[in-house]
Symmetry: C2
Subunit: 429 residues, 2 copies
């Protein structure tokens, strides 16, 4: 075993206290060995002037959509999807998705994100990119039923299932998988009744969009006289390891149901604001004991993958929506972006403590916009930017050192992605 | 005259078109001489891979409040002011304000801001700091009447007036002044009736907080049976050069009144969300033809001075509040942060065109989170961070080159501010 000592920084503990301490990491087990006066390690990572925090977790993403960053803004969800996003997505090749995903991974790593959940297509390419980049991911092939005949839908489902089986535990266990029906309205009831039990048999969690827009809730309520999450519950889609994206329009019954079932919710405040989908009832979720994580959604509706932006957005939108400046405070959003995300994705990370996975972000606090530091947690929630991340460590490996990604060639990744984006859009037009 | 050629970048024009062009600047007049094929200049500033945009304008700020960044978060405006902010502000010395302002100036310059409006105390110190730092500012000593006897209030007013007279045109005209009563509720009617005509005589614009919270509107409506801005109009406080901060709770009558009078509004979305003050009717203002600028407010309620954050917040909150993803689009927020701000503050800047003041920000677009560039304006509004600014030019002078502030010693400024912040809080506790 080789040990790495992260030295001289201030450490953010799970109870939100901050002490000046070293963190010792074992790169064989990928775990945190000790926090405090840890002696010397085989190697040292300088954290002087920095805050050492758990790596951020982006719990809902479509990574390759970086290719569509800024392609179509300022449009509502339905027309944005149908007129802009889907026609381009229909042209996506494996190589496009690899290029867009690698661009996303550079962005995630440089802004301190050590784990993410990705629901998209060509997921074998995504898994390979994750293996190469060194971070942790929960991956699923998105199943869309609408507009497909029985055979095509079945083939889509089979692809999702076989990906989930084949890649679970890949890359030394850094890649885990999931079964990802797109949403309760884009996959028919008959198909969900057929597919979900097969996914359960494969032993992977479910992740899907739910209660994202009011338009998506109404037809379910009208047709079934029950709320969308009651419908999902009847289909066996609210398991303890499952996690839902958005959860904007959940009512009190659904909040309680999620709490009872132990199903987590991924709050995506930027995407929800940008597409005018509404504001998720985050205080109600947290009060009821629902695990809440944070996600950026795809870069086309955000338009970045910076979890620091997302923390700020979550706090700001939370206060605005509750008409209460004390709602969704700094500690809540930092917890959502770290421990909440790790719990939602089923990773033993998100907290700096011996025995936990060594997934860490080291944030340079010696910056004008982070001075003074009356409160380090406030600075993280309200004033830190992704570019303040100095080092990113995942599974005990240093993936970003002094702002440079070590596992991917950033310039080559950027150029390749720009080229793929250009070609893709040209093909679709 | 010495000319500076900003070379090889893509230039954002006032009509939001983008072309690859050079910009020639004259450092004597401080003006843009030409845009296009400009020949060689005496000096060159490399803008390859960058977007050259108008310098950002922060149209409502309390710069020295950087000292209170993160000091008290997650509290509503009234108790936050009375229990946390005002007791500390009562302890502020000239040296504190100088230190906090210099910290703000470093932050502003590094994130591409070339002009700001500041309403605070010890404004002579602020003017000196602005002179040294090289940017442009509209400065006013804040007049608070509440809790003061006649003589104390009069002295406060006199100080504001004499500062406004003495410093208007200071630092080669980069410093302009204004008369700044705190708000319509914190300065009594009798005093406003007495003071405002004197400010008019001094020939400076008015800037004050208006319609920031619902709590501030109600007593005026209850007592006078007119809206706050009708009251302000009756006091002669809606002039063509005047500009109001916040304007969250303006109704349709007030929107029309502002348009008629030519008074500008400074939208502060981050502060409004963080203090749960509400969402300003930005689409209504813009439709009516009211000039809308952007402001960060003080760092204690934001918690940074990054106008890129503010643009993103303005777009996001605008869509959420209007329940319309097409509301407050990318071009609108970029305009508010540049031309809108310059117009509100009365500076001939905010647009890249020959004859305008050479106030520019050069943004490095060769970054993962800004790739691809389907739409440069979208990238500015949604994905750029202050840290992407490579060079900042004001009045033809390069104030930031390759991310380094040239007019202030950043490390010394940070250390001094941290020390003052520590001492200040200790004195207040």
């Amino acid at each position: 075993m080789t040990t790495l000592r992260i030295a001289g920084g201030r450490v953010l503990h799970p109870d939100f206290s901050v002490t000046t301490d070293d963190v010792l990491v074992d790169d064989t087990s990928g775990e945190i060995v000790a926090v405090g006066d840890v002696g010397s390690g085989d190697e040292t990572l300088d954290a002087e002037g920095c805050l050492v925090m758990p790596g951020l977790v982006n719990a809902h993403c479509h990574a390759a959509m970086t290719l569509l960053r800024g392609y179509a803004d300022d449009k509502p969800l339905e027309s944005w999807l149908r007129e802009d996003v889907w026609p381009v997505e229909a042209e996506l090749t494996d190589a496009d998705i690899r290029a867009g995903t690698e661009l996303a991974l550079v962005e995630l790593l440089k802004s301190g994100t050590t784990a993410f959940a990705d629901m998209y297509f060509s997921m074998g390419e995504v898994a390979e990119a994750v293996a190469e980049a060194g971070l942790r991911a929960r991956l699923g092939h998105g199943v869309v039923g609408v507009g497909k005949d029985e055979d095509a839908a079945r083939a889509d489902h089979e692809e999702s299932l076989s990906f989930a089986r084949e890649y679970d535990g890949y890359a030394d266990g850094r890649v885990r998988t999931m079964y990802t029906p797109h949403s309760l309205t884009t996959v028919d009831e008959d198909r969900l009744r057929e597919y979900v039990p097969e996914a359960r048999e494969a032993g992977v969690p479910l992740h899907y969009h739910a209660n994202e827009t009011a338009d998506e809730v109404e037809p379910i309520v009208a047709e079934r006289d029950e709320r969308p999450l009651e419908y999902a519950d009847g289909l066996g889609m609210l398991g303890e390891s499952d996690f839902l994206a958005h959860g904007v329009h959940s009512d009190a019954t659904e909040v309680d149901l999620l709490a009872e079932r132990g199903t987590a919710v991924v709050h995506c405040p930027a995407s929800n604001m940008k597409l005018a989908s509404g504001a998720a009832p985050v205080p109600a979720y947290r009060e009821a004991g629902v695990t809440v994580a944070l996600g950026t959604d795809g870069a086309a509706s955000n338009n970045d993958l910076d979890l620091f932006d997302e923390m700020r957005d979550a706090a700001m939108l939370g206060k605005h929506a509750a008409n209460d400046a004390s709602a969704v405070p700094a500690e809540a959003v930092v917890e959502m972006a770290t421990a909440g995300g790790a719990d939602a994705l089923g990773f033993d990370a998100g907290r700096i403590a011996a025995g936990r996975k060594a997934d860490l972000a080291v944030v340079d606090f010696e910056a004008a916009h982070l001075t003074p530091t009356h409160d380090a947690v406030s600075n993280l929630a309200y004033a830190t930017r992704g570019s303040d991340v100095r080092h990113t460590v995942c599974d005990g490996e240093v993936l970003v050192r002094d702002g440079e990604v070590r596992t991917l060639d950033e310039d080559a990744v950027r150029e390749r992605a720009a080229e793929h984006a250009r070609d893709l859009v040209a093909r679709a037009e």
